[in-house]
Subunit: 676 residues, 2 copies
C-alpha cells in the first residue's frame, strides 16, 4: 500500500475517476457490494443531504441491479457520511468543497465540512463502482480531495436558440457528475430574451417568440442546481447584444430615431442573423438607468447568487458614434471614445448591483482600471487578457480555449490551463484566477444536438479545473472519458443516443426498418462536425435555418480520432503483421472498405446527398490503410505512384463535404508517410 | 385516376399513412415542397389552431431542411386550412373529428368542421411528405377521413412506477401523431397515489414516496393534450387497488381494526408487492362517502373531461367478509355478496359524480343491471363482457387484447377488433361500443423502457380504432409501422434510442469506448422481452426491483420477427439460391454466426451474464439457418440426425434465458421442417 501516481492501477483498482482527485492512495482489497448495502448520516444532515444520498443510492441500485434501500438509515451502515454542517446558505465561490473518503473491505467513510463537499464525495463513490466477476465492488482507496479552482462553470446560451427546460435539468445532472459548480445562464442576446419579467413583460412577450423561462421555472432550476452543489449565475448581456430588449422597449436604444435626436426609435425586431449588430442600449439617458434599476432589482431578487453577469462584450459603438446627442454627451462628460462611454455605463450599473448585494461579472470588455476590485472578468480573449485584470487586482475566469462550439478535441481543451505553466503571475495574482467556464454558444444548437456538443468534452474541462495541474496524461484522460461518457447517459443525457436518432431521420427515405442504419453508424463513427465558424461560412446560418443535417447528428471528437491515432502510433513503433495494433487497424480498415458500398443507397436520401462524396472517400481511406499496412508489414516499397496517389486522396478527404470532416486523417497520413 | 385499394401505390405515391384514412383517392403528380411553402387559415382560427399549424410547419421545416415560415400567413398560400369552428369547449367523445384533404400539384386544401379535425388533418399531411430525388413532395391525393371509433385511448399507469412528466408530454405527442384522442391516466393504485390533493394532502404526502404530479402540472398536461385533440380521463381506482390512500387515511379501510369493529385501522404502507390485496375502502360508513364527496369534487373540478374513471376492478372482498360489522351491514341492506356491496358503493358514488357533471367509467366489475345507462365499461375481460353491457344499454371500450405489457406482437394487437366480424350485436348495440384503449401497466416500467413498451405498437391499436375494419393487411401494416416508428422519434420519443442506452450501460464493464456495442445491437435486434407475467414468475419483481436487465433494454416485437418470417415465407415458395429472399436470409444468418463469438467477451458484464447462453444459441441459430438453406437450395436431404439436432436446438432456444426470448424461431422451425 502506498501513495501511487494517479494513473497507475493496482491489480484490483481500475481508476476511472473523472475528475481525478487531488490525493488518492490505493489500499488492499475491495468492498463487495450486496443488497445489504446501507448508508447513514452520522453527524449533520438536512433535506439537501438526504436527497443527495437518496439519488446516489437509486443510481447505485440501478447500476448494479442490487435491490438496496434507497434512503439513509440507522448507523452501523456500509457507507457512513459525516458532514460537519450545511455550508453556505447561498453557495458562493467561497464554499468549502473538500471531502475525504476511505474505502476498506469493511465499509466506506465519507467526511466533508459541508453538504456540497459530501455531494462531490458521493459523485466520486459512484465513479468508483466497478464490476468484479458476476458482482460489483468498491476498491479500497483513501481519497483526500479538493478542487484546484473554485469556479468550474458551464455557460449555456439560451438566446440564439432556446434550450428547453428538460435539457437544462439533465445538463445540471451531468455537471454534478463531474463536480462542476457554476451554471452560467446566458439569458438574453440579440436573438431572444428568454426569461419572464413581471416588471417589463414586453421583454419576453415580444422578444422571445414565446420561448422563455417562467420565473417559477427559474426558481425550480435554481433549487435543483443547489441540490447538486451548483450555483446559477444569470447573464443579461448589455449594452450590446440586446436587440431583443428593443422589440418591446425601443426607447432604450441609441439610434437617432425619426427626429434625429433619438426619439421615436425603432421599430426593432428579434435578430434572426448571427453576429454583432449596431443597436445597443442608450447609456446617456436617465430613463435607461431607471429601467435597468427596476429590471435588475427584479432579477437580482430572483437569482440568489452573489454574482450577476452583465455581459458587456462586442459593442461596436456604431449607434453611439452616429447619434449627435450621444456624441454631445460624450464631449460634455469628457468621454474620449465609445469604450469610455461603456465604462461610464458600467459605472452606473455598479450602484444598482451593489444595493442589491451583487458583485459584477462581465466579459473582457468591462475591464478598466476603475472597475471595483470585487468585479470579475470572464475572458473570451485568453490568458493575457485575464492576467492583465488579475495584475490590476480583479478576479477572473477563463473561457478562451473552452468554447465547445469550436468543435475542438477533448485533448485540445484539456491542454488549456487557466494558469499556464510559466506564467509570470505572482502567487497573489494567480490566486485571483478563480477558474474557468466551458462555453456553449447556441448559433447551431437544437435540443437534439446540444448534448453531444457539451458532453463528454465538458467533463475534460471539469477535470482541468478540479484536478491538480500535473494530471495531464492525454491517453489516460481519453481512457477515462469514454467510461464517463457512458456513465453520463445514466443522468439522462442523450449525447450518444441522439446520433442514432439523427441518422435514422436522415436515412428515413431510404430505409425500410429502423435497424437498417448500421452502415451509417460505422460511417458516423469517423465523422465530426466542422466548427461553428466553418459552418457559418459554408451555410450562412440564421436562427431560422433548420438544424437537421448530418453535421447535426454526428458527434465532436468521437472515440475514433484518438483510438486510430493511438493504434497507428503503437503500430509504427515496430511495424509487424503480428501486433495487436495491426489486427485492430486491419479490422477497422476492412470494415470501412466493406461499409462504403452499403452506404451508397442510403446517401440518396435528400439530406444525405450533400455528404455522399464523403461516403466514397470513406472506402478509399480504408483501402489506403490496408495498402499501407501491407507495405509496412513487408518492409517493402510501395509501387510507383501509390504514395502520391494516397497523399492526394488524403488531401482531398481533408476538405469538409456536407459540413462534416473525417477524424482519422492524421494517423492515416502518418501511415502513408512511413511507407518507403 | 380513381379510387383504389388503400394498400396500392401509384408510381409516385408511397402510402405510409398510419392510421389509414377512411377514403383515399390518388391523383396525378405531386406538389413539390420548397422554401416558399406557406400556410393560411381562411375561415375560423383560434390560438389552438394557430399553435397546431405552427407545430406542423416547424416539423415540416425540420424534416425537409427547407427554411419555411413557421406561422400561418396571408392567404393565397400553399396550404389553405378551412375550419368551420372551434368545436366543443370541452372535447368529448361527441367531437366532430372528420377532415378532408385535397393535394394537387398546385397546393393543398384542408377542410375540417372543428379544430380537432384540422389537427388530425395536419397529422396526415405530415405523414404524406415523401422524398423525391434531392427534394421533397406531397403526392396528389384526395382524402375524406373520419374515425371508425370515437374513443381511441392509451392508458398509462403512473402508480406502480411513477412516470415523469416529460414522458407524459412526449407520449401525448406520439398519440397525436397517430390520431389517438383519449389519455387515460391511472393515477392511484396500491403502489402509489400520484396526484396532489389540496383537500387531503396526506394522500400524496404519505402515499407517493414524493413522486406525484402537482395540480399545476396536471393543468398543464390537460392544456397540452387539448392542443393536440386529446382528452384526459383520470382514473382513481376504488374501492380496491387503494392501499396507497390508506397510508394517510387509514380510517377509510375495511379491516377489523384493533377493536374488531373497524376502529383504529392500520397502519398501512404503500404496497411494494404487485397483485391484489385485501385492504379496500369501507363502503358501509358515511365517513367514507363524506371523504369521497370532498375528494371527488376537488378532482372533478381539476379534470374537465365529461367522464371520470373510478376503476372498480379486482376487489377480492376479503376485508368485507372478515369484518363482522360489514357483514352485519350487508345483511341489514339485503346485499347478498361482496359484489352486491360493491354495487352499493358505486351507486353511492353516482350522485357525487352527477352533481359534478361527470359520467362514470369503470372496469368490467362495475357493470350491473342497475348501472345508469350513461356509465360506460372498460373491458379487460374481453369482447363478451363488453357485449353484455352493450346489450344492456351501456357504452363500452375494449382493452382486452390491447395490453402492451403482455409483450405481444403488433400483429396480434392488430387482429383484435372491438366489434369482431360475426358478432351478434344489433347495429344499435354495436354503436355503444365506442372504441378501445391500449393499456400500459407499470409493474415493470422505467422512464427508460416505457417508450419502447408503448411505441410503435400503440400505433397499430390506433389504426385498428381509426381505420375501416377492412384495413387488415399485416404485411402492409408492418411496412408502414417501421416508417412510423422512425417518424415518432421526431416527437421526442426514445423507443429506439433507449435500447442503445441500455446496451451501453449493460456492457459498460466490458467495453472501452461507447461505440463497441455493435455486436450487442445485432444480438438485440432478434431479442424481445418476455411478457409481464413471465417476468413476474421468473423474478418475483416488486416496486423496488431494479429494472436494468437486458429485458429492460430490448424492444417488444422488433422488425426482425416479421422480416425473417416474411423472407422465409417468400423463400419457401420456391427455394432457390438465386432469389432475393435467399440472399437476405443468408446475409442475416452469416451475421449471426459471425457476431456470436464477438458477443462472448461482452456477456461477461455482471448484468449480461444471465443471458450469455442466449448469445451462444444466437450463433447456433445462424448455423441452422445456413445449413437449412444449403439443403433446400440443393433439394437434397440433410445428413442423418441433422434435423433432430436442429429441432432440439430450436426447442432449447425457445426457453427464455435472462428473461429474453428470440423473435426468429418460428420461421427457422419452418425452414428446418421444410428440409427433407
Amino acid at each position: 500500500m502506498g501513495s501511487i501516481p494517479l494513473q497507475a492501477q493496482s491489480s484490483t483498482f481500475v481508476n476511472t475517476l473523472m475528475p481525478q482527485p487531488a490525493h488518492l492512495t490505493v489500499g488492499s482489497g475491495s468492498l463487495a457490494l450486496g443488497t445489504q448495502f446501507t448508508a447513514c448520516e452520522d453527524k449533520f444532515h438536512d433535506g439537501r443531504l438526504d436527497r443527495a444520498v437518496s439519488r446516489f443510492l437509486v443510481r447505485l441500485k440501478n447500476e448494479t441491479g442490487l435491490q438496496i434501500a434507497t434512503a439513509a438509515g440507522n448507523c452501523s451502515a456500509t457507507l457512513t457520511i459525516s458532514v460537519d454542517g450545511a455550508g453556505e446558505a447561498i453557495q458562493s465561490d467561497d464554499e468549502n468543497e473538500t471531502y475525504s473518503l476511505e474505502v476498506t473491505p469493511n465499509g466506506l467513510h465519507l467526511h466533508a465540512a459541508t453538504v456540497v463537499g459530501a455531494i462531490h464525495g458521493l459523485a466520486t463513490v459512484y465513479q468508483l463502482v466497478q464490476a468484479s466477476g458476476s458482482g460489483w465492488e468498491l476498491p479500497a482507496v483513501t481519497i483526500d480531495d479538493a478542487p484546484r479552482f473554485r469556479w468550474r462553470g458551464l455557460m449555456i446560451d439560451s438566446s440564439r436558440h432556446f434550450v428547453p427546460i428538460d435539457v437544462i435539468y439533465r445538463t445540471l445532472d451531468g455537471m454534478a457528475a463531474v463536480k462542476m459548480n457554476v451554471f452560467h445562464w446566458h439569458l438574453s442576446d440579440d436573438q431572444g430574451f428568454r426569461i419572464e419579467s413581471k416588471v417589463f413583460p414586453k421583454l419576453q412577450e415580444l422578444g422571445s417568440d414565446g420561448d422563455y423561462y417562467t420565473q417559477d421555472q427559474v426558481r425550480s432550476v435554481i433549487a435543483y442546481a443547489r441540490d447538486r452543489g451548483i450555483r446559477v449565475v444569470p447573464e443579461f448581456d448589455i449594452p450590446g447584444h440586446a436587440m431583443s430588449w428593443l422589440v418591446g422597449y425601443p426607447d432604450l436604444a441609441s439610434g437617432v430615431g425619426t427626429d434625429g435626436k433619438g426619439n421615436h426609435q425603432g421599430p426593432y425586431a428579434i435578430s434572426r442573423e448571427m453576429g454583432i449588430f449596431d443597436p445597443v442600449l442608450d447609456p446617456t439617458r436617465e430613463s435607461t438607468y431607471q429601467f435597468l434599476d427596476k429590471f435588475l432589482s427584479e432579477m437580482t431578487a430572483l437569482f440568489p447568487d452573489p454574482y450577476f453577469h452583465i455581459g458587456g462584450d462586442e459593442n461596436n459603438g456604431v449607434q453611439w458614434k452616429n447619434n449627435p446627442r450621444i456624441q454631445e454627451f460624450m464631449k460634455s462628460h469628457d468621454l474620449k471614445d465609445t469604450a469610455a462611454l461603456q465604462t461610464y455605463f458600467n459605472q452606473k450599473l455598479l450602484p444598482i448591483l451593489k444595493k442589491n448585494n451583487k458583485k459584477m461579472i462581465g466579459w473582457d470588455e468591462i475591464f478598466t482600471p476603475t472597475l471595483p476590485k470585487d468585479a470579475i472578468i470572464q475572458s473570451w480573449r485568453g490568458f493575457d487578457s485575464l492576467a492583465a485584470s488579475a495584475k490590476a487586482g480583479n478576479g477572473g475566469i477563463l473561457s478562451a480555449g473552452y468554447y465547445l462550439d469550436q468543435i475542438q478535441s477533448a485533448e485540445e481543451h484539456y491542454k488549456v490551463d487557466p494558469i499556464p505553466a510559466g506564467s509570470d503571475l505572482t502567487p497573489e495574482q494567480a490566486s485571483r484566477i478563480l477558474g474557468g467556464e466551458a462555453a456553449m454558444w447556441a448559433e447551431h444548437l437544437s435540443p437534439r444536438s446540444i448534448d453531444s456538443r457539451i458532453w463528454p468534452r465538458a467533463a475534460v474541462v471539469a477535470e482541468r479545473l478540479w484536478s491538480p495541474q500535473s494530471v495531464s496524461n492525454v491517453d489516460d484522460m481519453y481512457r477515462r472519458l469514454w467510461v464517463e461518457s457512458v456513465r453520463l447517459e445514466d443522468f439522462g443525457l442523450l449525447h450518444l443516443a441522439a446520433e442514432d436518432i439523427g441518422l435514422r431521420k436522415l436515412a428515413a427515405p431510404e430505409i425500410t426498418t429502423p435497424d437498417q442504419i448500421a452502415p451509417l453508424r460505422v460511417f458516423a463513427d469517423v465523422l465530426q462536425p466542422v466548427s461553428f465558424s466553418q459552418r457559418y461560412q459554408l451555410q450562412h446560418t440564421t436562427q431560422l435555418t433548420p438544424l437537421d443535417h448530418l453535421i447535426d447528428a454526428v458527434r465532436p471528437d468521437p472515440p475514433s480520432r484518438h483510438e486510430v491515432e493511438a493504434a497507428v502510433a503503437e503500430y509504427l513503433k515496430n511495424p509487424s503483421a503480428d501486433s495487436p495494433a495491426h489486427a485492430q487497424l486491419t479490422a477497422w480498415f476492412q470494415q470501412w472498405v466493406k461499409t462504403a458500398p452499403q452506404l451508397a443507397p442510403l446517401m440518396k436520401a435528400p439530406l444525405l446527398q450533400e455528404a455522399a462524396p464523403k461516403a466514397e472517400q470513406f472506402g478509399q481511406l480504408g483501402q489506403i490503410g490496408l495498402d499501407a499496412l501491407k507495405y509496412l508489414d513487408a518492409k517493402q516499397a510501395a509501387p510507383a505512384g501509390w504514395k502520391d496517389q494516397a497523399q492526394a486522396l488524403l488531401k482531398g478527404a481533408n476538405e469538409p463535404i456536407g459540413m462534416v470532416r473525417f477524424t482519422v486523417l492524421e494517423p492515416l497520413k502518418q501511415l502513408v508517410a512511413s511507407v518507403q
